[in-house]
Symmetry: C2
Subunit: 567 residues, 2 copies
Amino acid sequence: MERMRHSASHIMAEAVQHLFPDAKFGIGPTIEDGFYYDFELPRPLTPEDLPIIENEMRKIISQNVPFIADEMSKDKARELFAAQPYKLELIDEIPDSSVTIYKQGSFIDLCRGPHLASTGEVKAFKLTRIAGAYWRGDEKRPMLQRIYGVAFESQEELDNYFSRQAEATKRDHRKLGKELDLFSIHEEIGPGLICWHPRGAMIRQVIEDFWKAEHRKRGYDIVYTPHIAKLDLWKTSGHWEFYRDYLFSPMEIEGQQYMLKPMNCIGHILIYKSKLRSYRNLPLRYAELGTVYRYERTGVLYGLARVRGFTQDDAHIFCRPDQIEEEVLEVLNLIQFMMSSFGFDEYELLLSTRPEKYAGTVSMWEEATGSLKHVLEKLDLHYEIDPGEGVFYGPKIDIKLKDALGHVWQGPTIQVDFNLPQRFNVCYIGEDGLEHNVAMIHRTVLGSMERFLACLTEHYGGAFPVWLSPVQALIIPIADRHVSYAHKIASSFKNDGIRVCVDDRSERMNLKIREAQLEKVPYMLIVGDKEMATSGVSVRLRSGEDLDIKAPTEVKKRIRAAIEARS
Amino acid sequence: MERMRHSASHIMAEAVQHLFPDAKFGIGPTIEDGFYYDFELPRPLTPEDLPIIENEMRKIISQNVPFIADEMSKDKARELFAAQPYKLELIDEIPDSSVTIYKQGSFIDLCRGPHLASTGEVKAFKLTRIAGAYWRGDEKRPMLQRIYGVAFESQEELDNYFSRQAEATKRDHRKLGKELDLFSIHEEIGPGLICWHPRGAMIRQVIEDFWKAEHRKRGYDIVYTPHIAKLDLWKTSGHWEFYRDYLFSPMEIEGQQYMLKPMNCIGHILIYKSKLRSYRNLPLRYAELGTVYRYERTGVLYGLARVRGFTQDDAHIFCRPDQIEEEVLEVLNLIQFMMSSFGFDEYELLLSTRPEKYAGTVSMWEEATGSLKHVLEKLDLHYEIDPGEGVFYGPKIDIKLKDALGHVWQGPTIQVDFNLPQRFNVCYIGEDGLEHNVAMIHRTVLGSMERFLACLTEHYGGAFPVWLSPVQALIIPIADRHVSYAHKIASSFKNDGIRVCVDDRSERMNLKIREAQLEKVPYMLIVGDKEMATSGVSVRLRSGEDLDIKAPTEVKKRIRAAIEARS
């Protein structure tokens, strides 16, 4: 596949050369699902050029000319590419004395290969879009024109790709976030900073309430800590040294430097340290829906999925070293429970090991990594190693959620930390009467409220399960004379803890139903003369299906059951 | 009373003069409940000096010498006070050409009076403490010694004062906050920044859940907005101009200045503005438990009551000008409901008018102030005017809560604002199809979570009502063989939504009961052989009273009833 996509890129380059003989060529690598190539051309391309280039490519493919590799000295290559300044630059940077070229038909490219045997082996492809791209990604170098394409083994796979793409576009949380009025990001406030609108906040509150109740049940204590702290703390912690690129700039108060917290650990450590703790008191589990702020470049920010301010569903477990494995095991159980509660059945586990910049000693790292491996094996969980991707203070288990379209999301994380307890002298009195450093486990079971809502939105395509739906039932009076009956029904549903609204606008019923379907309200209760006469409601689901139950008590029972089943 | 306290201060000065003939005298004013006087003395005073001075004062009082006023030229006064450098400095600053002096026995003071007729009229007094005080509060001037005293009309009143003081000390939320393990403030994080410990956070969560449910019921939408925003927004809003002394210093991100939010209004305004709003959509009520940061000098910070970071139970109501009065009325109803839910029956209402620095026009201020007055009068609520104490953007109603000891706390606030809607062009489409500025109402119904917990703690002396108690029932097994029965009882109580703990330490029952009483746990359930044999529990209240119900289902019913009655 890789080889085919790479060859398609060369064929596209040849097609462009046929159409623009003076074209200067940049590079043309493969990417996920396809390829691109960068060109310097005498005029800007338009979307209308793409079918013309595709046609030219089809000709080259039908001629089925072979790809021929050749090796030559750099000097000879420089002669061959004398009219191609970008290629000359690339040749200069190759450390070897000779270079490889690939040739098909009239087109020769500096390329290490490999390629297909001949152009006829390229099966199904499509050029998708044109973009500007600085040569070598450097904004001081010339802006080239980049053409993107996709290529697959068969037309069917290509068609599948486009329907998946269309589905992904429909489910894009940035698009649905606007349509369902869940959240907004304002240039005036700043990029990466989220305003949660009433409906998004309703979903968040349901998640938070569920999360808090489940944590209390499992022996966690909830705490609150401030969003700023003196910079010195972050120097002691090592964040200033190891994590500085992600920190906001400090601010000054009465000659002291303060910083927005990038993590919640330090507040929890100070609460722990506010009392003498004995081995009998451990483990202590402090949980906080803690909003943290981290710097990310504007370019990488992405809706709710990558932001500058986010609320972690955080907790820190302070335990004895001999309790680590049991605690990690319980956290993994909690994660599995949470994931299935929210409808995620598939996920990948990654064990991230020591990064280049790290705190603590190699032996600490080995011990902690060993504990994590041991638990994963005990639970018989399949995992992969992600080498060097640990946080600076310790190794971690990352869990990536697969949404309904197969996209992978950064989700829960578990991190073992022997480093902060040493730096902050976080101790307990052991059975021996002496002070010992506690072990700390950092963990989230959803990740962050922001990214989790993004993931949920795309997973469900905005049709949230009933228990999470901001509006669970919408009552639609057919005419104005049914409005007061609608409100009566609404207040009886409200009393049963169902989130219900009445669409009492003077609009046609069909328009109201269509809008409710766009808003993905799970239950529409339509009330007109017939319903009033029988003290009933007509129920339509967001799928378009009509239910045959009419008695409000039965409908309430059904909705309550859906809420309680979290389905 | 004022006159008596002032005379007591002169009598104290005379007594000090008898004991230290070289004493130099500063000033001696009255303060709440008493008086002080500042002296320069040849040696530092110790607490043992106070009874000696009191004795000397009693002699002067028993001699019943008259207070005699006299007026004289400044030059004559300068001769009279030639040995008193502080008095000379005061004389120089008096703008009049003559000064008043008061004389009793051998003591003469520069003083405008008035005083009692004679020393014998001073009834009941006590000297309370010694402190250092810079002359004129200026740390570059000499440090004098200050003696504080209190004085009342009768010995009974004096005794009452001291028992009230003792009670206030016992109820001090800073002291109880530590004893009940509710919160901490850490120098390492920074002054005025609160860490909520598990028990304090439990109370906060109960309050927040109650608050959210009540707000949803009353048509509020809950939202979340970020803790930082670009500085420019605070320039547009006027906060930068009018409120700068209370703002944290800005921080920089990618060349842009950002600031911690001192108020939640701007996020709510931008959510409002994310859609076109019609007159039919109004009012919109956005509520947020929003944590804000404001600079206060270290010197004025005070436990939870005055802090630098606090969570307002905030809301902004966007309405048409003709809806203001009804909305303010509903807010006042909500406030009255909230206050009675939390056990506050007495409060004072203050209407604060235009301050010196203000935004908007005088006519806007008059209109808004008029609306507030009108609603207060409609509800027949007694209020006082607090001239010039409005916020820069509008007049406000402040409600001060009276706690069980009669102390007054800053509580809810309602502020009408015609200014921000203009500055941010916050509009709705009227019935006429044209754009109109909305009116905004800023309001809190508790004030802030921090100050409200301080007030609740002192009001209840830490013995929170059952629904707010972090631990509602503590199960105390008498011996180790009763522990598993205790846990069985506990889990049945937990299933009924009662916050229950088991004290399963191997300590004596009496110690466990004593500690539970100190922690002010409302119900102690003691289980031993007798209770296990009858499947019962023995119930002791934190008052020490024993209940005669023993059946766990009855006890649960009783506790549930107390929770539901919020009593």
